[in-house]
């Protein structure tokens, strides 16, 4: 019962702030709503028992990536608002309608296609829940070691690329 209340509250908040992100006039407000959205998603991860992923979400996403967005927004603070001329070829209302149709389709597939697991999965004991970090770490360093190393090289490449792109002279 508590889980239902928590899930529905978090779902409403996540979707509400996501809508605010895409509809806010001021870009800085948009970024702030995105941060709050990510914090509620981290809370959802805690509800699902993925505590390590929740803190990683806050540290990397909310506390790193969005700070980067905020910096760029401040460096790019224009005198005139960017959405001044309406492009005549853009059909915003059609995009909205098509998106709602897509949502209805995916929702229908998700609800009617969901198969309960055959073997009843045992409820999580407190001891197993506390071992989330160990489980994730074990997987990362044994089965998924190669993707792990490749991810670190990817981040290095991205860092070098970002520094070069943002410099004043090459």
């Amino acid at each position: 019962m508590g889980e239902s209340i928590a899930f529905y509250t978090l779902a409403v908040l996540i979707l509400g702030f996501a809508i605010l992100v895409i509809t806010a006039r001021n870009t800085v407000h948009s970024v702030l709503f995105l941060v709050v959205n990510f914090l509620f998603v981290a809370a959802l991860y805690v509800l699902l028992g993925a505590q390590f992923l929740a803190v990683i979400q806050v540290i990397v996403y909310a506390g790193g990536i969005v700070v980067l967005y905020l910096f760029v927004v401040m460096l790019v603070n224009l005198k005139r608002p960017p959405e001044v001329h309406q492009d005549p070829h853009r059909r915003s209302r059609l995009a909205l309608v098509l998106a709602c149709v897509l949502l209805a389709e995916i929702g229908a597939i998700a609800v009617w296609g969901y198969v309960r697991p055959d073997v009843p999965v045992s409820p999580v004991s407190a001891a197993t829940a506390a071992q989330n970090v160990e489980q994730v770490g074990w997987l990362l360093y044994t089965h998924y070691l190669v993707p792990f190393e490749v991810a670190s090289i990817l981040l290095l490449v991205a860092m070098v690329g970002a520094i070069i792109l943002a410099r004043r002279e090459l």
Binding site: I22, A50, Y61, G107
Partner: protein, 100 residues
């Protein structure tokens, strides 16, 4: 009783909201942020099923998605800055020159 189907519907809704943001908004920074919303939607789905099957593989996949999102955000914002320095705009309708 909250099943992973609930989480999938939430994830689909968040994904579609991100998609609307990408299609409708013209400020390129807001478009990038909508892409981040879509990536988060995928993460929610992965973690929900990982929680159902008591297998941490879904969370590991989500960690890799966060890594890739970080790399993409860094490089993308670098591109935006470089472009802004040349053309003084962040409206994608004005970013329409394939050559100078």
């Amino acid at each position: 009783m909250i099943t992973p189907a609930h989480y999938t519907v939430l994830s689909a809704a968040l994904f579609v909201i991100g998609m609307i943001g990408v299609l409708v908004r013209r400020n390129i920074i807001v478009i990038f942020m909508s892409i981040e919303l879509m990536l988060n939607a995928v993460n929610i789905n992965l973690v929900a099923y990982s929680s159902q099957w008591r297998d941490a593989t879904g969370q590991v996949f989500a960690i890799f998605i966060i890594c890739v999102a970080a790399a993409e955000a860094a490089v993308g914002l670098g591109i935006i800055l470089a472009f802004y320095r040349n053309k003084e705009t962040v409206n994608i309708d004005e970013m329409n020159l394939m050559r100078w």
